[in-house]
Symmetry: C2
Subunit: 338 residues, 2 copies
């Protein structure tokens, strides 16, 4: 973060036609955006681009979710047709949506808005073998970096994370356990809605995978390859790619923050580009946000993923930056100060 | 609220391509919007119209704020020029802005976007005499009802409350004390930023006014006329006007919720049309929201007024309703259910 730009943003906030500090957290957010961009005012945060990274999970074989694996592919089609929740939210917020196949089980046909970048057809079952090789994890990270760069090159001034992958909260919980040191039982939730027996099985499966591979926070690629998902690796790269270009990235829910922990482990400064869109009800999300030292903007008891929480938060972030661009100062508006 | 439409909305939420309940509070909000409109899906909540009711306060003479009274008029000019925080937020959210002079001290020139509906040139000092007559309070309420009706007739499908009036948090706290029965000291905050001595004086002034007039929650017009403001009375009418037309209204901060308490006292069912946009840091706001039994959507530590919190919340509310309109069902999208 650029200290000079942040100082300029703070001074500008104090000259705008409002009581000092009256916009609360939005003022500090605008200051951080100035620091990230190293300019005051920072760029207007439009257009905004959401990338939904889709992939499948071999650990599905352990019956960690009642949803069939085919739903990942079906939901990609639903995203492309504009019928998912995130599509409705994105239309309201004016956010562009791109889908990235980084590891869906089935082979997908080309389509507008779909980037075909499959690293492999789903991961292996982490409870029996590494989810993927180190080389595949690196390839997925590089895919994410590439997608971030491409969207920024196409004009995006802010990126948003999205994800789709049946069983991916299992990998998210495993990664959060690795990077925060918390027990799997503390960071594993009910995902899209499972019963208590499935929840217990899910925790046991994660513990078995962690015991088998002994992944370490000091080796983020090792963690991603053994207990992660292809979309987690790609999302980690996406965050790194945004941060490297000094473009802010709004994190969605538990999958995004699990990936963000890997990004932070790979490059600690990448944290400065992250904005926590919302607090998912998944317990791992709260643990991960604390580790990232990020306060979520929204809290609606949501647990859908897709990028829904990031998209809902986008107008707030854009509004915070607009203040630095569009508001009059006391002098320019002829408003008397107290 | 229409029970049949709410039941239809609940059933529709269960058929949409997402895990049941995964959109958390937004699902219940969409159900309430269906109940309010008595149709499922309820109307798309666009266009959205914000009305900023501006007025001055005779209690300013008691030095309850360091801001000069002229700032009310200056800020109206700033709103009309598009240079205030709420203008920046409204551009982001796609919300139309109308200013209503319901009691600014100075006489204002006609302007585009400004409704001249002055009931009187500012209130009298509530600590020495009634802020206004009962007739004037009724006239201001009727002005608010009329503005709501006019905006709805012009096409608005959701209304947002805004306010501007130097010293209006004093009247807000007095009204909240009346309608909740809480001591003035418990509901009086630091407004736009006052020092501790001014805060104590503000509480004493409110207590003196309440002791002088003995306003009662059973006589909302009496409360508005003795210790209220012209913008509070107009906002109460604005809420009533929205509710009577079954149009939702997003409440902003402490001035809005104080007025909403008066609206609820006048017509209890009007509460069903209210949405709490955010939680202001003013302590009275939290007390009033509890009395209204409304959970705020956003909480950013804001204390600006103008409608800023309502405008930030608008995309969330609109998104919640879009879900019922735009999302595919499991059947229509060919997505397998668990």
């Amino acid at each position: 973060l650029d200290g000079e730009a942040m100082q300029a943003a703070r001074q500008r906030q104090a000259r705008l036609t409002k009581p000092a500090g009256s916009l609360g957290e939005l003022e500090e957010l605008s200051v951080r955006m100035a620091g990230l961009a190293a300019s005051c005012p920072p760029p207007v945060l439009a257009p905004a681009a959401l990338a939904i990274f889709a992939a499948d999970h071999g650990v599905h074989a352990q019956e960690v979710t009642p949803w069939p694996q085919a739903v990942t592919t079906q939901m990609v089609a639903n995203f492309l047709a504009g019928g998912a929740a995130v599509n409705a939210f994105a239309r309201q917020a004016g956010v562009g949506v791109t889908i990235v196949d980084v590891g869906v089980l089935s082979d997908l046909d080309p389509a507008d808005g779909l980037i075909l970048a499959k690293v492999r057809n789903g991961t292996a079952d982490m409870s029996e073998e590494p989810a993927m090789s180190r080389e595949e994890a690196v390839a997925a990270v590089e895919t994410g970096i590439g997608v971030a760069g491409r969207l920024i090159d196409e004009g995006a001034r802010i990126l948003l994370t999205g994800d789709m992958g049946i069983a991916n909260t299992t990998a998210s919980a495993a990664l959060i356990s690795v990077f925060t040191g918390r027990d799997a039982g503390m960071v594993t939730g009910y995902g899209t809605g499972i019963d208590a027996a499935t929840h217990l099985r899910k925790i046991e499966v994660i513990k078995r995978a962690l015991a088998l591979h002994e992944p370490s926070a000091e080796d983020p690629i090792g963690a991603l390859s053994t207990v992660g998902g292809l979309e987690h690796a790609a999302l980690a790269g996406f965050v790194l790619g945004a941060a490297a270009r000094r473009v802010p990235v709004i994190l969605d829910g538990v999958t995004a923050v699990a990936a963000a922990l890997a990004a932070q482990a790979l490059a600690p400064l990448s944290r400065e580009a992250m904005i926590a869109g919302h607090r998912s009800v998944e317990p791992g999300a709260t643990v991960a946000l604390a580790k990232l030292d990020l306060a979520p903007l929204l809290e609606f008891g949501m647990r859908l993923g897709e990028g829904t929480g990031a998209v809902l938060a986008y107008p707030v972030v854009a509004s915070a930056v607009r203040v630095l661009h569009e508001m009059a100062t006391f002098d320019s508006a002829g408003v008397t100060e107290k």
